[in-house]
Point group: C2
Chain length 314, copies 2
């Protein structure tokens, strides 16, 4: 019987865990709470205990595992070292070295959660069938992951795939959380889209369906209005699409993937968001007609456990 | 005795050829003219004949070669296919498959010349000691090459490392050769720097040493004036540095190399050009203090033969 892989996606509130066949079939998934107290020192032992319990139920022993993969919400150095992981309370830890002995010494692999999610989408999601993809997650922030030849480009300082912090807008004046200014995330995250809509409503007197949401407007409201043809909302999405198109074009001219996989809450707008991005993506890759396609992510919140399990397969 | 590698850099005027030890030592280098007539059909046979003649002189036989590498001025598909190579007259060719039998069946490898030059700089030039570098060549145009884990990221459509065509300037109105608008090359190539200087002189009435060069001003003139403290020339180089800094920051947040290696004619300005780029490169990678360094290329026009030979080593 082929060995199984464990995928672990450590989030700030819950840890998602999945058991996978090497073929990519998900056998079982579940969650455990993330215990952040005392510098997050219980997280990995909680995870290990929960995995062992589940394996017992499923009558799989540790020898039946090829290994486990771990996605964590922060930068990971090439040797697996995590300097700081604010959301978990971790400081100066090497989670893969800590987790392995708790799971009977099986090999443990680790990556940044956005990169790992990208690997998951390549394996069994919107990027299935491709070896080179770039994932862009449009959520509260903008995350990214670059996969070339079925491997994560994590970078030598953990900055690989930090697409949300690509500078795209010279005239931006507010600062991004990262300390920069004019980052893609400031305009293309869910937060950024809502902010852009508020700016647009303040700057223009035109009537708009968006006005009924007032300051509580969300990215979903903006997208719903734009899809319904609301002129001001369409203008907002053209701005968002411009900067996303510019950023993806830049990435295409750097690593030239087969596909850009668009995920996160904003991507629930479906083909509409692809169309919004595609116009300027094509415009700013004028050098060639042959370029990576834009497509939607498929695994939702499970991308992380899929990718973490895929880490085990090398 | 360890086998030797041949590096071949095919240019529009001459083909540069070098014989290397696997250690990276250059044993001999020479050039042959590029015969472009009849769709460039004589280029590879000229190269093969010249190599065999040189090997005879050096008393090295074909069995003493590990293989040959080829850098060509155009996009190369993953299987080595070249759809079109304007500068050579090539159309629908697979140069590595053609060259191998002309050299007794030794393995032949191929890559785009800018990518291959980047590999050369990683091997024995400004990027020596690193496995992950991005080379940026500031010449007549702006070329680039991305090397991750000692391998070229050529891309699935040959667009990997096309950094010169990254869109950086929304307010640009003229078109780039690539068909795009606002490309890095339009402002940061030698041609672009001269154009920017002319724009600046036309827009401002300030006195400047640059004015004595009139419309014939070159990038070197601008750099010389800027280094001497000429205010208008410094302003020009601040614009150039801004867009180069923005573009390299974007690339850092995509593939996060250990070093950016700056080459081409403009890089003869030395540390000055590094300083010009560094300010905004740091500003737009605010997310982390740890990032790739900026450094100068070292191999000049030999980067191509070094990189082509390095292709043989895998």
């Amino acid at each position: 019987m082929e060995k199984k892989c464990i995928g672990i996606d450590v989030g700030g509130t819950t840890v998602k865990i999945g058991i996978f066949e090497a073929s990519g079939a998900l056998l079982e998934k579940w969650e455990v709470p993330t215990r952040k107290e005392e510098g997050g020192k219980y997280i990995l032992s909680d995870v290990a205990a929960s995995i062992k319990e589940k394996l017992g139920q499923l009558k799989i022993n540790l020898e039946g595992l090829a290994g486990a993969g771990l996605g964590v919400p922060g930068p990971v150095m090439p040797d697996g070292y995590v300097e700081v992981c604010v959301n978990l309370g971790w400081k100066d830890v090497n989670p893969k070295e800590e987790l392995s002995p708790l799971l009977g010494g099986i090999p443990v692999f680790i990556g940044n959660d956005a990169n790992v999610a990208a690997l998951g989408e390549m394996w069994q999601g919107g990027g299935k069938g491709y070896s080179d993809i770039v994932m862009v997650t449009l959520g509260t922030g903008v995350g990214g992951g670059v996969i070339i030849d079925e491997k994560i480009i994590a970078g030598k300082h953990g900055l690989g795939g930090e697409i949300g912090h690509i500078h795209v807008r010279d005239e931006e004046t507010e600062h991004c959380n990262c300390g920069g200014v004019g980052c893609l995330e400031q305009v293309a995250s869910a937060t950024g889209i809502a902010r852009e809509a508020k700016r647009m409503m303040a700057a223009k007197a035109d009537p708009s369906e968006m006005r009924k949401f007032g300051d509580g407007i969300t990215a979903k409201d903006v997208l719903d209005c734009a899809k319904a043809g609301d002129k001001l909302a369409v203008e907002v999405m053209e701005i968002v699409g411009h900067y996303l198109g510019v950023a993806l074009a830049q990435v295409a001219l750097t690593v030239d993937p087969e596909a850009f996989v668009i995920g996160g809450g904003v991507s629930k707008a479906g083909q509409y968001i692809i169309d919004v991005i595609e116009k300027d993506y094509r415009k700013y890759t004028a050098i060639s007609e042959n370029k990576g396609i834009l497509t939607l992510a498929k695994l939702g919140n499970d991308a992380g456990i899929y990718g973490a399990a895929r880490l085990v397969l090398g």
